[in-house]
């Protein structure tokens, strides 16, 4: 019995992993492409740092990246390490998995008879992303971001904003005005270097994805899903149950709408939306990938903040639609 279940878990693991790896590769290639076409990433630092405009701009960038959340992580990491304002980077990380053409099209394909969902999903994703960016923005970057990401990020931030001690290299004193205007053009990395970096990044992320997929597959095989769907009709419980399901199932945002379709008839509309909003932000498979960006405190805050926002949105939708 236990062997049968382990064999099933092994198959689930392979399914989750092989489905996600192509999207991870797309993300890594886009991140490498950005390093090649815009070395130094000066455009990243020009993104707005306004607490509201920043996350909104980041979220809007999602339209340029037709990948789901696994592919998103390397791109968001590249944005943050390149010195993009924290809000813009986080807005992209949290909203882009929903705010992209493929995900919107798949949501529409799965629920052509529920136009409200087509509007509520992107809108909800932006709300969650802005709230999370505001929340995480309260924490000092040094306590929020992983050490190696922070070190890379400091190098790309202007000294005036960071301080020499934090950056641990650079010139003392304000740079002369002339030097500011004639900033040295960043050097395009050699192709071999770029390839090495991308390969290393892909393999490291793949390892994290493996860990996440193992956990997701084990939880899926040993916790009967009917436990979660048993409370389908109760307004608040159904939202909580589907949020838990989104955490466990860990499928990509580009296909989760089709999965939601299979139980849409059994749950409240708020719970359905909660499933479609929480999964792209956080799930078991993503936790280890997000660990590449955040320290544990950031991960806990992200999970708690996203869960609270999604619960509130779900409740509101249930008040409106039930």
């Amino acid at each position: 019995m236990i062997l049968t279940r382990l064999a099933t878990a092994w198959a689930l693991f392979q399914g989750l992993l092989i489905e996600a790896l192509p999207f991870l590769l797309i993300g890594v290639l886009i991140s490498a492409g950005a390093r090649w076409f815009a070395p130094g990433g000066r455009w990243l630092r020009r993104l707005p740092s306004h607490p509201l405009l920043g996350p909104l701009t980041g979220a809007a960038l999602g339209f340029a990246l037709p990948a789901c959340e696994c592919g998103n992580v390397p791109v968001a990491r590249r944005m943050l390490s390149g010195g993009a304002p924290l809000g813009a980077g986080l807005g992209f990380l949290f909203a882009a998995p929903v705010l992209n053409p493929i995900v919107i099209a798949s949501t529409w394909a799965a629920f052509p008879d529920q136009p409200w969902l087509l509007l509520a999903r992107p809108l909800g994703a932006v709300l969650v992303a802005v709230a999370l960016a505001l929340l995480l923005g309260l924490v000092p970057e040094a306590l929020l971001l992983q050490a190696d990401l922070l070190a890379e990020r400091r190098l790309h931030q202007p000294l005036a904003a960071v301080g020499l001690l934090e950056r641990s290299s650079g010139l003392v004193g304000a740079p002369p005005a002339s030097a500011l205007s004639a900033e040295v053009a960043p050097v395009r990395p050699p192709l071999a270097e770029l390839m090495k970096h991308a390969s290393q990044e892909f393999l490291y992320l793949a390892l994290l994805l493996v860990m996440g997929s193992v956990i997701a597959a084990l939880v899926q095989s040993f916790v009967p899903r009917s436990w979660l769907l048993a409370v389908g009709g109760a307004p608040t419980l159904s939202i909580l149950a589907l949020m838990l399901l989104a955490l466990v199932v860990s499928v990509c945002s580009s296909v989760d709408a089709f999965l939601a379709l299979s139980f849409a008839a059994q749950v409240t509309p708020g719970a359905l939306l909660a499933f479609l909003l929480l999964g792209p932000v956080i799930d078991l498979k993503l936790v280890s990938l997000l660990g590449l960006l955040f320290r544990p405190r950031g991960l806990v805050l992200t999970t708690a903040g996203a869960a609270l926002m999604v619960l509130l949105i779900g409740q509101w939708v249930n008040l409106w639609r039930l």
Binding site: R5, L12, G15, P22, S199, L203, S226, V249, S262
Partner: protein, 235 residues
């Protein structure tokens, strides 16, 4: 020519990437993907495999070509070794899931089929077609006596005889949800083990529903054990 000592990192990277490329490409040809993923994703996996192979070859060239020497660190070496080992494990241990075990854990697929564009003649309907049709036309008397030719796996049910079932998959095995048809198993027939694939010819008949009332069930005239089909998952 042996590569310089410090270029070994590039060699390991090439090997690790090559193994992952092999996982993707080999899965695309050995039928494994049919068991794990919905067909629309298969070309994506093959394409990713090809891209990875290309990157691995370029890394290999780097390992043997002239270039700056690399200082590898411990974490990097661990990552390379671990990913290579996992890729090898995935390659060597193909998936062998128990569909009945998986289906037993999942709630039934309840997709409401609002529009049936056309209805196949009874003998050509698959198990999934039948389930969807019965859901959209819940009056069981409409179909009693229709011929049935279906295949599926044996799914044990709690408190009733086993059903013949299929798994519906929207993305990958992780989101599989079962659909099943009740079968009126012939008296005296030794029960088939869970997961056994069967092809059943017969007719639709009326039988007692567990909650009272009547429901349609397959009354077999011929039951043949078959191997698992090459494409066991249905969209």
């Amino acid at each position: 020519m042996t590569p310089p000592l410090l270029q070994r990192a590039a060699l390991w990277r090439a090997a690790s990437l090559g193994l992952w490329a092999l996982v993707m490409l080999y899965s695309s040809v050995d039928g494994r993907l049919d068991l794990l993923l919905r067909a629309v994703f298969h070309p994506l996996v093959a394409l990713a495999g090809l891209l990875l192979l290309l990157v691995a070859l370029l890394q290999l060239r780097l390992a043997f070509g002239p270039g700056r020497q690399e200082r590898g660190d411990r974490r990097q070496a661990r990552t390379l070794l671990l990913t290579a080992a996992i890729a090898l494990l995935v390659l060597l241990l193909p998936p062998a899931p128990s569909f009945a075990d998986l289906a037993g854990q999942r709630p039934r697929d309840e997709t409401a089929e609002s529009e049936l564009s056309f209805v196949l003649p009874p003998a050509q309907r698959s198990l999934t077609d039948w389930v969807r049709l019965l859901r959209s036309q819940p009056d069981p008397k409409l179909f009693a006596g229709d011929p049935v030719r279906i295949s599926g796996f044996v799914l044990p049910m709690e408190g009733e005889p086993p059903q013949l079932a299929r798994l519906l998959v929207r993305c990958c095995l992780a989101d599989a949800s079962p659909v099943g048809l009740p079968v009126h198993w012939p008296a005296g027939q030794a029960p088939f083990p869970a997961d056994q694939w069967l092809a059943i010819d017969g007719v639709m008949g009326l039988g007692p529903a567990p909650g009272g009332g009547e429901r349609l069930e397959v009354v077999p005239s011929r039951i043949r054990p078959i191997p698992r089909p090459a494409r066991p998952l249905e969209p």
